[in-house]
Amino acid sequence: MAQLSNLMVYASMLVYTLALFLFAASLAARRVPLAAKQKVLVGAGGPQTVEADPGDDPGRRSGNIALSLSWLGTILLTIGFVLRGLAAERFPLGNMYEFSLAAAICVALVYLIAASRTDLRWLGVWVIGAVLLTLGLAVTILYTESAQLVPALKSWWLVIHVSAAALSGGAFTLSAGFTVAYLLRQRAEDRGTTDKGLASRLPSAERLDALAYRTIAFVFPVWTFAVIAGAIWAENAWGRYWGWDPKETWAFITWVVYAGYLHARSTAGWKGRKAAIISLIAFSAFIINFFGVNFFASGLHSYSGV
């Protein structure tokens, strides 16, 4: 069954790769500025653009196929994840390989659900790229044979703490995508070059900023919960709820910098670009926590199995 799980993971990677190409093709083919199809906020001075006929957009079709393929890849990956759990007869969150699968599923699902509510096909390259990168790392350097858990992980808190962390990872990745897009688009808007290059295919900076904020506003409580759930578990396993273990330290840094982003957004002089950069710093802290700490620091969270 573990082999079948691996097969599913490889199959999903294949499907994701196809989706990635189609997303890229869709982005390259999109000539109509996306802003044209955004609902223009009512009020004087807004960009008065004519609503384009969707049929004109040659990227639309490949973008839709890419979205469907992404759903298929996510379903395959989820089956692989579930089989992995069945093979070991436990919740499959016991090492970095399994956590990476969970994080990849979360990134893809958060994106696909968001994409079903609003047009996010332009973000597909970033998201599916991140998913493929995570899966690539997972099957190569992080891969661990399916096995039982070490005693320290035998707790229900594993499921609660780790799935909250994986969900946070998914949404943080998405928000980082919005933020990078925002910075690109904002620069183009400041220079008045929104009609060419990549920036022409992105929504307005205002909208990107709002999307990034909304994603972080959703995920910040989830991340707070993940950290606190970890603290409760630590109290029950190690005898203290907080001990500045490297993983705890970087979880704290991630939390504090995202808190900084939320404050920056409502501080004069820090709105916009500076806040966006703080958010990207916070995302790098998360990535350091996710990958770096397991490889470069020794601490109590050494369950990677690598």
Partner: protein, 500 residues
């Protein structure tokens, strides 16, 4: 004279100057910008805590680091880099942040109470300037309908002649204040735990036990306000310890189950109760918790002198050196007529590696062997009980033993490897602040969710025009977020539909 907020000029009177400076300092400290910079500083200040080894978690690695880096090590030590989270500069950042936080939430709370006591604000004269704005035709009942609709949807409504003003989402601000307040509570709970809590580490060999007193602990960390005589007088006897390991595959040798059976006496005179504890499932005794955090082996060694008298007979704790529990330990007998010492390696599953020498290849005791070196000479009394400085000692023999085997030395002494027992590493912890910390954490999550997921917003409906009456619907978000656009659209659509 300048009109911007700058420190008061020194020309103002001396008393006013001091007060002015204080006011300026306080305003700067409690501004959002300062809070933001302090937050980023706090993150930055935490980084060395994960880069350098820390005394709180790995004191032995700090010593190793300073030995390996003799030039920079002591300087890093002086800067507090090995004790970041107890360093004065770290404390300075978070204490300033706390003061800034309190200075922010107190006036905000007062302001919010004021908002709650006043009716919703007057409608602005030009609604079309609001971020959300729609128009629809109106009749005489439009404002009544708008008021009814808003009240039915639990807006706080103020009705005037030709406009309605409404506010919603007060829980956003409640959540915001709750979050910041409970964050302070959380820090207080951590401080209470630090002052009144204690934790201890004990190594317990199967068949022995320990009581909740200072003399029985191998290491003890206590808060400033803990009276060591008042530590819970419980006793725990470790009856049996079982460990199971992965037998095959890539993760062969990985631990799978640790379990300890113990007899627990809550206080002197209380009945003994048999309990089992394991990793993730601590013993709870009278407000303290007993955690199983590790294990190893303690070979039973019996030493007889040349006259046939037993001079040593005990289980000796050998500390594990690797994942397969290759374990090292010593026996020191400095008080004998001819001082005597043993150094040993205990290998639960022994092989002789051509390069590394004797080494264990599996953590369970499948083929246990004890490799001993015997010494005489000036055996040091005291010092570390797990290591022996063999300089100045004479090696008088080496031997490998299996359980039950004996070794007769040339000096007439006999060393017998009687058998072995498991030992457990146990942490005992008492933190009176933990329930307080938990409650504060739960409220922190509640507060931050309310603050980020709810939106505070205002809407207005205004009727204008003489012949053709127009209703203007406008809205303003007070907390960010686009919900007010939906509200305004919803109100306009409702008024339009009901008007037909």
């Amino acid at each position: 004279m300048t009109t911007t907020v700058t420190p008061p000029a020194p020309t103002s009177g001396p008393s006013l100057g001091v007060r002015g400076w204080l006011r300026w300092g306080w305003r700067s400290l409690t501004s959002m910008r300062t809070a933001l910079i302090l937050l980023l500083l706090l993150a930055l200040a935490s980084i060395p805590g994960s880069v350098f080894p820390q005394r709180g978690t790995a004191p032995e690695r700090v010593v190793d680091y300073i030995t390996a880096n003799p030039t920079i090590g002591p300087w890093l030590d002086r800067l507090g880099m090995f004790d970041v989270f107890a360093a004065p500069w770290f404390a300075a950042v978070y204490l300033l942040l706390c003061v800034s936080l309190i200075g922010c939430i107190v006036p905000r709370t007062a302001e919010f109470i004021g908002v709650l006591r006043r009716p919703p604000v007057k409608a602005p004269s030009r609604l079309s300037r609001m971020p959300a704005f729609e128009t629809t035709t109106a009749d005489v009942d439009t404002l009544d309908r708008a008021e009814a609709y808003l009240r039915a949807n639990r807006w706080r409504v103020r009705r005037e002649d030709n406009w309605v003003s409404a506010e919603k989402g007060y829980l956003h601000e409640v959540g915001n204040l709750l979050f910041h307040l409970c964050f302070i509570f959380l820090l207080v709970a951590v401080a209470v735990g630090g002052l009144f809590g204690w934790s201890a580490k004990v190594i317990v060999v199967e068949g022995t036990g320990f009581t909740g007193s200072l003399t029985q602990f191998d290491s003890f960390r206590k808060g400033r306000l803990v009276n060591p005589d008042q530590i819970a007088p419980f006793s725990v006897v470790l009856q049996d310890f079982t460990a199971t390991f992965q037998e095959s595959g890539q993760q062969r040798g990985a631990p799978r189950q640790f379990e300890a059976d113990a007899l627990v006496t809550q206080r002197p005179g209380a009945p003994e109760v048999a309990e089992t504890f394991s990793v993730n499932d601590p013993l709870v005794i009278d407000g303290s918790k007993v955690f199983l955090v590790g294990h190893g082996y303690a070979p039973e060694i019996k030493i007889t002198d040349a006259d046939g008298e037993v001079v040593f007979d005990d289980a000796v704790v050998f500390l594990p050196r690797d994942g397969n529990l290759t374990s090292a330990g010593v026996v020191k007998l400095p008080d004998l007529e001819q001082p005597f010492a043993l150094t040993g390696l205990f290998l639960p599953t022994a092989v002789i590696d051509p390069v590394m020498g004797p080494v264990s290849v599996f953590p369970a005791a499948n083929d246990p062997q004890l490799f001993l070196g015997a010494f005489d000479g000036q055996v040091p009394a005291g010092g570390n009980v797990y290591t022996l400085d063999t300089s100045g000692l004479n090696r008088i023999g080496t031997e490998a033993l299996r359980p039950g085997q004996s070794w007769d030395l040339a000096n007439g002494m006999t060393v017998e490897f009687v058998g072995f027992r498991d030992f457990a590493n146990v942490t005992v912890a008492h933190d009176p602040g933990r329930w307080f910390a938990l409650a504060a954490s739960v409220l922190v999550i509640l507060g931050v969710s309310m603050s980020l997921l709810l939106q505070r917003r205002r809407v207005w409906v205004k009727v204008t025009g003489d012949s053709v009456t127009v209703a203007e619907v406008a809205g303003l978000s007070k907390s960010g977020g686009g919900k007010v656009h939906d509200d305004v659209r919803e109100i306009a659509v409702t008024l339009r539909e009901q008007g037909k």
